[in-house]
Structure formats: structure tokens, C-alpha cells
């Protein structure tokens, strides 16, 4: 009898203890992002977490860093399994819309207004995280354009001028190659890195309209049109003229295999998103003195304005999952990610925040100012193809472009493959 009583007591105390545990438990918010390396974004996010957790001691933000190329896969699988993180990062555009149409993302428009942080964000940047006028993701990290960073000392030593046309670029490349310097540091295992060259060439040749029409399937737009075939031809001409380092198709941007060539004086130019400035600052700050940038050269007779840029107005967009149980805290945290502290933190680490007032006047560093002017001054910024397109087509673009770099497809074949995939996707045949 006594035995049974102790047993009962034990069970009761166990149950009590468990329920008490539940009451005392903190609120947990999971946050997924890609910033596995120390740098502007990681510093800013972690700083925001620290400040937020100090102000709300009952809330814990569980930060999970996942390397870039694995991230999209992990996020999609988590969503498929209804196990998505409370707060997650995307690049806006096509992929974010896939999540939205599956009902996975919280429409945070009203909450943003209530919290008074809606106006933090630049409207042009907010657009990419919105469908119509409803906001599903807020731009957090950087206003980005792909720019050609180059080693000023190498250019000076070899008496090279900044190329403004494609023909001049070929001349610069020839001189560099004669001096055993690889013209462009490119690591193309990631594919999106090489895509930048293709996007710029297509823009310079056919103007932004070529891509827009092909993507929207209007006005007879086609991925097999002249502009895309020509872009492929120019691209392969660059490859054949040794624009890229030995083995670039297998090199990994995430492992800094491209920048290593820049750091060791083996390469002179580096076409990369302007986040590279912050990355290099974190990796090899002394190199910044010998680094400048120019906008990708124009193509003679092309329709595109050579001042057009390819990039993204916000880079990383942070969204809150529909199934998040503590949206009121999640939205507050987004406020911490986009407040004045975050602005300072990003600028200090070489990023241009897509939020905050009067950013231009807060930047002191002359090179950063120049970056800001380049990024914010252009009329037409083409969003990365792989973020504009639905994920399935984005992959076809990336695959065909990598095949172009490897000279394994002719420009016609690549363009045709892309167009066929687009037709299939849109159910046109």
C-alpha cells in the first residue's frame, strides 16, 4: 500500500514538475540565415540578437547558420516537412513567391506599420519582398550591384586603363595574360558567379527589355532571342581568350577560391556583388588600398545602357513563417535588425543598408561613398536572373550558363534549352 502511495506521489510530482517546466520555459524563435563567415551581415545579425535578448530576456533567438549553396535546399525541405524556422532569410523574388503561394509566409504588412518600422525600409528594396502591396519579407543586409573590382597596382604597373567597352576589355585581358596574370578571378562551381557575366553581356547587348520580355513571356520575348545567343557567344570568346583561371569551373566561391587568386597577385579583376567589399575587408583588409571598381563595360552597338547594373536592392530578405507562434516577438526582432544600430554596424563593415534615413550622409569612407553612389545612382538595376525566375527555370539558366563556360554547349543550344524549359514551365506546348 505504502509502495503504491509513494508511486502516486512520484507520478504527481513528476507531472507537476513538467508543467512547471513548461511555464518557466522561454520563448524560442529559430532564425536561419547563410552568413557562416565573419563579416558585415553576421556581425549585424548577432549584434541585433544580443540587443534583442537583453531587452526581452524571456525570448531566445536560436540562430542557425547554413552555408549558402545548401541553404535553399534545407529551407525548402524544412517547409515541405512543415518544420520551417520562425524567421528565415531568402533573396526575395521568385523563390520567396514559391513559399508565399504555398501559404508558408506571414503577411507582415500591418504588423510592420503598427510597430512603426514599415518606413525604415527603402521602397524600391521593399518591392522585391512584396506581392502587390503586401509585404512578406523585409530587406536586411545590403544594397548590391555586381561590379568589377580590380587591383589598381597591377593596372598601374602595366599601364592599363579601365576598359569601357568589350573590345577594350579584350585588350586589357591580352596584356594581363602576357604578364601571366589571370584577368578575372572566377570560381564557377557555384554557377551564380558565372551567371553575372552572362547577365551583364545580355543586358549590354539586348537591354533590360530582352530579359524582361522573355521572363514575362510578352511581346514575343524569348530566351532563344538574338541577345541571349550573342551573350553566349561573347561569353565563350572571353573563355577562349583565357579570361578565367585554370580550373575555374570546379572552384568554390564559398571557399574563397576566387579571392585567393586576387590576394596572391595571380588575378587582376573580380566581378562580384558589392558585398565583396565587406568580405575582403573582413578577410584581407590591407588589400582594400589596392582595390577599386568599375562598372561592367558596354558592348559596341548594343542596346543596353552601359551604366545599367545587375544586382539586388536588398540582398537578404527576412520573413516570418505563417506557423510561427510568437509573431509579435518576431516582428520586434525585425525592428532590431533594421534600426539605427544596424545601419551603423552594416556601414562600418562595408555594407550599404537598404533601410534607415539618409544613408549617403552616414557613410564617411570615400570608397564606400563611391560604392553607394554607384549602387543607388543607376536607373536600371536588373535583379539576378536566378532570383527573378521561378526556382526550376533559375536552375536551367545556371546549368546552361555553366555549360557555356565549359564550351560544352553552343550559344544556340544553351539559349534553345532555356527557352524550351520556359515554354514547358509556362505550359506553352
Amino acid at each position: 500500500m505504502l509502495k503504491r502511495a509513494t508511486m502516486c506521489l512520484f507520478v504527481i510530482s513528476l507531472l507537476l514538475g513538467m508543467s512547471l517546466g513548461v511555464y518557466a520555459q522561454d520563448i524560442n524563435l529559430t532564425l536561419w540565415h547563410i552568413h557562416t563567415n565573419v563579416g558585415a551581415a553576421q556581425n549585424t545579425i548577432q549584434d541585433a540578437i544580443r540587443r534583442f535578448e537583453t531587452d526581452y530576456p524571456n525570448v531566445k533567438i536560436e540562430e542557425v547558420q547554413i552555408i549558402n549553396d545548401e541553404y535553399k535546399t534545407k529551407l525548402m525541405i524544412a517547409m515541405g516537412a512543415n518544420d520551417e524556422p520562425d524567421i528565415f532569410m531568402s533573396w526575395g523574388g521568385g523563390p520567396l513567391e514559391t513559399y508565399i503561394s504555398a501559404g508558408k509566409v506571414w503577411d507582415m504588412t500591418d504588423a510592420l506599420v503598427e510597430e512603426g518600422i514599415y518606413d525604415n525600409f527603402l521602397p524600391v528594396a521593399l518591392d522585391l519582398g512584396s506581392v502587390g502591396d503586401r509585404v512578406y519579407g523585409v530587406p536586411i543586409t545590403n544594397m548590391v550591384a555586381a561590379l568589377v573590382f580590380y587591383r589598381t597596382d597591377i593596372f598601374e604597373n602595366l599601364n592599363l586603363d579601365i576598359p569601357t567597352t568589350y573590345t577594350e576589355l579584350l585588350e586589357v585581358m591580352a596584356v594581363l595574360n602576357d604578364n601571366n596574370i589571370t584577368p578575372f578571378a572566377l570560381a564557377n562551381a557555384n554557377k551564380w558567379t558565372g551567371s553575372m557575366y552572362y547577365m551583364y553581356l545580355a543586358d549590354r547587348i539586348g537591354g533590360p527589355e530582352a530579359f524582361y520580355k522573355a521572363m514575362m513571356r510578352t511581346d514575343g520575348g524569348s530566351f532563344a532571342s538574338e541577345a541571349f545567343i550573342k551573350a553566349g557567344e561573347y561569353l565563350q570568346e572571353l573563355v577562349k581568350n583565357n579570361a578565367f583561371p585554370r580550373g575555374f569551373q570546379s572552384m568554390d566561391e564559398d571557399l574563397a577560391q576566387s579571392r585567393n587568386l586576387l590576394y596572391t597577385d595571380r588575378a587582376a579583376m573580380y566581378l562580384m556583388g558589392s558585398w565583396a567589399w565587406g568580405t575582403i575587408k573582413a578577410e584581407n583588409e590591407s588589400l582594400l588600398e589596392k582595390l577599386d571598381f568599375f562598372v561592367f563595360p558596354g558592348v559596341d552597338g548594343g542596346l543596353g545602357d552601359p551604366s545599367n547594373l545587375v544586382g539586388t536592392p536588398g540582398d537578404n530578405y527576412f520573413s516570418v513563417a505563417q506557423k510561427c507562434e510568437h509573431k509579435e516577438y518576431a516582428i520586434k526582432f525585425l525592428g532590431y535588425l533594421s534600426d539605427e544600430n544596424a545601419v551603423e554596424m552594416l556601414i562600418a563593415n562595408g555594407h550599404i543598408p537598404p533601410f534607415g534615413e539618409d544613408i549617403g550622409s552616414k557613410i564617411d569612407d570615400p570608397m564606400m561613398k563611391k560604392l553607394y553612389q554607384a549602387v543607388s545612382g543607376s536607373d536600371a538595376v536588373q535583379l539576378w536572373y536566378d532570383q527573378s525566375l521561378p526556382p526550376e527555370l533559375a536552375q536551367v539558366h545556371l546549368d546552361t550558363t555553366q555549360a557555356l563556360f565549359g564550351l560544352e554547349m553552343t550559344p544556340e543550344e544553351a539559349a534553345q534549352t532555356m527557352e524550351e524549359a520556359a515554354r514547358r514551365y509556362h505550359g506553352e506546348n
Partner: protein
């Protein structure tokens, strides 16, 4: 069986065996058997993994038969099977023979040779990635240092080379496993046979062909089946080392399935590839098993 009749039903051997098997069987059914029909079911849909599933009949299967990348992947798989069996098994036997003979550094060498098998595939992938690195990599730097710059290749970037570079790393990973397998089998060969051969004055070569290899043969066929199945469904090192690239030059069926499902988000088509991979692997293993079983039987008959 009669002697067991006095036992209560729950202590009969059949019941006991089933009971002990049940937990493993349950998970086997849940994670191995059930997904096969489910994957086939998914292969009839167009589905991005989180959105709506659209039934499209056998469209994915029609696409698969015309998909050049899938055929390339299959061809790569066959290459991997052939090279794996032709390199890993003989190397495994050779190393096992070396390490079972008596000499001074035997224990040390054994430890060293087993090391690759103890490392995780990701670590091996990263290791070989740095060995093959085009500019700063160990291999190319070594070739440069010995004045053989003309031997330098773009190990992972050249579509003609990449498959062999990766297979080389895979061999490196798996040879120790076969070495251990053969070492265990070698220990089981009775010493008397060798002594008798010695008395008869047989050469070492002759001893190998008439004693060691015939007695190792059952292990060799088992190893070959392991290698066949392993190579057909191989995934990890390729995924880490080359990602199947560039331009699918080192794509295998498993990496292709992964790409279609989890990078292109075409779960339906990915399932189609998965079911095709399963069918091909199943049929080939069955054929191989049949063929080797006949042989074993013949051998038994002669004895």
C-alpha cells in the same frame, strides 16, 4: 520440431524470432520498403515539394527516357562500377596479402592504410578538393615542383577528367574496407595447405593462384556484389567533391535524383529518377547474384 510442442505458443522459435525481428523489421518497412511504392506514386505528379501536386500520368517517365543527363549519369555509374571492381578488389587483395605476411612495419602500415575508411565522406571530399585545387592544390603544386607542369590537369574542372579524379578518391576511400575483408578471409585459410605447398616446392605465384585465390573466391564474389550495389547508389563523395559537375560530367543517378528533387524542386521527376535507380540496381544485383550463385554451386559440386 516435435520436441518443441510442449512449449507454450509464445516460446516457440518462430514467434521468438519474429518478436526479436519486429523492431528492425518495422523500421526497415517504414524507411526502406514503404518509400518504394510511394516514390513511384509521386513520380506520376508534377510537384515542387510544398505546393499542390498535379497528376500528369507517365509524363515524367517519358521525359526520363529522353533525358540525356540521366543516360549520362547511368553511363557514369557503370564506369564507376567497373573501375571500382577492377581496382578496389585487386588492390584490397594485394594490401591484405602484404599485411598478413610478416615484416617489421606491418602494424604501423595497417593503421595507416585503414585511416581513409575511418574518415567521413565529407572530410574526404574536402581533403581531395584541396589536393585537386587547380592553383594551390597539393597535386598541381607537386607536379610543378618536380618540373612536370605539362602533366598538370584541371582535375575537377575538365569534364573529360573529373569523373576519373572523383573515382580515384572513391577508390582511396574504399580500398581499406576490402583490405580488411580480405585480411579476415586470409586468416581463415589453414596453414597446412601452405606448408604442403612449400614441401612440394611450389612458387609463391603458384601458391597464390592455386591456394589463396580459390579459397578467397567466395569473399571476392561477396565483395564484388557489395561494390556493385555501393557504386550504383553512390552519392556522398561526388556530392562534396564535384557536385556532379561541371555540366553533369561526373553526375551519378543518385546525385541527379538529389539535384532534381532538392535543388530544382521537381519532386515528381526526382522520384522518377529514384525509382529508375532502384529498378536498375535491383535488376543488376539479382542478375549478378544469380550468376555468382551458379558458380558457387558448381564449385560445391566438384568438391
Amino acid at each position: 520440431m516435435k520436441g518443441l510442442d510442449h512449449l507454450p505458443w509464445y516460446r516457440r522459435p518462430g514467434v521468438t524470432i519474429s518478436l526479436f525481428l519486429a523492431p528492425a523489421l518495422f523500421f526497415f518497412a517504414l524507411y526502406v520498403l514503404a518509400p518504394i511504392p510511394v516514390s513511384f506514386y509521386y513520380s506520376l505528379f508534377r510537384w515542387d515539394g510544398i505546393g499542390e501536386r498535379v497528376f500528369i500520368g507517365f509524363q515524367n517517365w517519358r521525359e526520363l527516357t529522353q533525358d540525356p543527363i540521366f543516360w549520362r549519369a547511368l553511363k557514369n555509374n557503370v564506369t564507376l562500377v567497373v573501375i571500382s571492381i577492377l581496382v578496389q578488389l585487386p588492390m584490397g587483395i594485394a594490401l591484405a596479402l602484404l599485411l598478413t605476411s610478416r615484416f617489421r612495419w606491418r602494424k604501423l602500415l595497417k593503421t595507416i592504410y585503414v585511416l581513409p575508411y575511418l574518415m567521413s565522406a565529407v572530410a574526404i571530399g574536402m581533403l581531395w578538393r584541396y589536393i585537386y585545387e587547380p592553383t594551390f592544390g597539393l597535386l598541381n603544386m607537386f607536379l610543378e615542383a618536380i618540373g612536370r607542369s605539362n602533366w598538370i590537369l584541371d582535375w575537377l574542372g575538365d569534364p573529360k577528367v573529373v569523373l576519373y579524379s572523383v573515382i580515384n578518391a572513391i577508390n582511396w576511400q574504399f580500398i581499406p574496407f576490402y583490405m580488411l575483408l580480405f585480411m579476415a578471409a586470409l586468416v581463415g585459410i589453414p596453414d597446412e595447405l601452405y606448408e604442403a605447398a612449400k614441401i612440394d616446392g611450389a612458387s609463391a605465384w603458384k601458391v597464390f593462384w592455386t591456394i589463396t585465390l580459390p579459397l578467397l573466391w567466395p569473399t571476392v564474389t561477396n565483395a564484388a556484389i557489395l561494390s556493385l550495389v555501393g557504386s550504383l547508389k553512390y552519392f556522398d563523395l561526388i556530392h562534396v567533391l564535384s557536385g556532379g559537375g561541371p555540366s553533369h560530367a561526373s553526375e551519378l543517378m543518385a546525385t541527379y535524383m538529389y539535384k532534381r528533387s532538392f535543388q530544382h524542386f521537381r519532386m515528381g521527376y526526382g522520384s522518377t529518377v529514384a525509382v529508375a535507380l532502384f529498378t536498375i540496381g535491383f535488376v543488376l544485383s539479382m542478375v549478378f547474384l544469380r550468376a555468382t550463385r551458379c558458380r558457387e554451386y558448381e564449385g560445391g559440386g566438384k568438391r
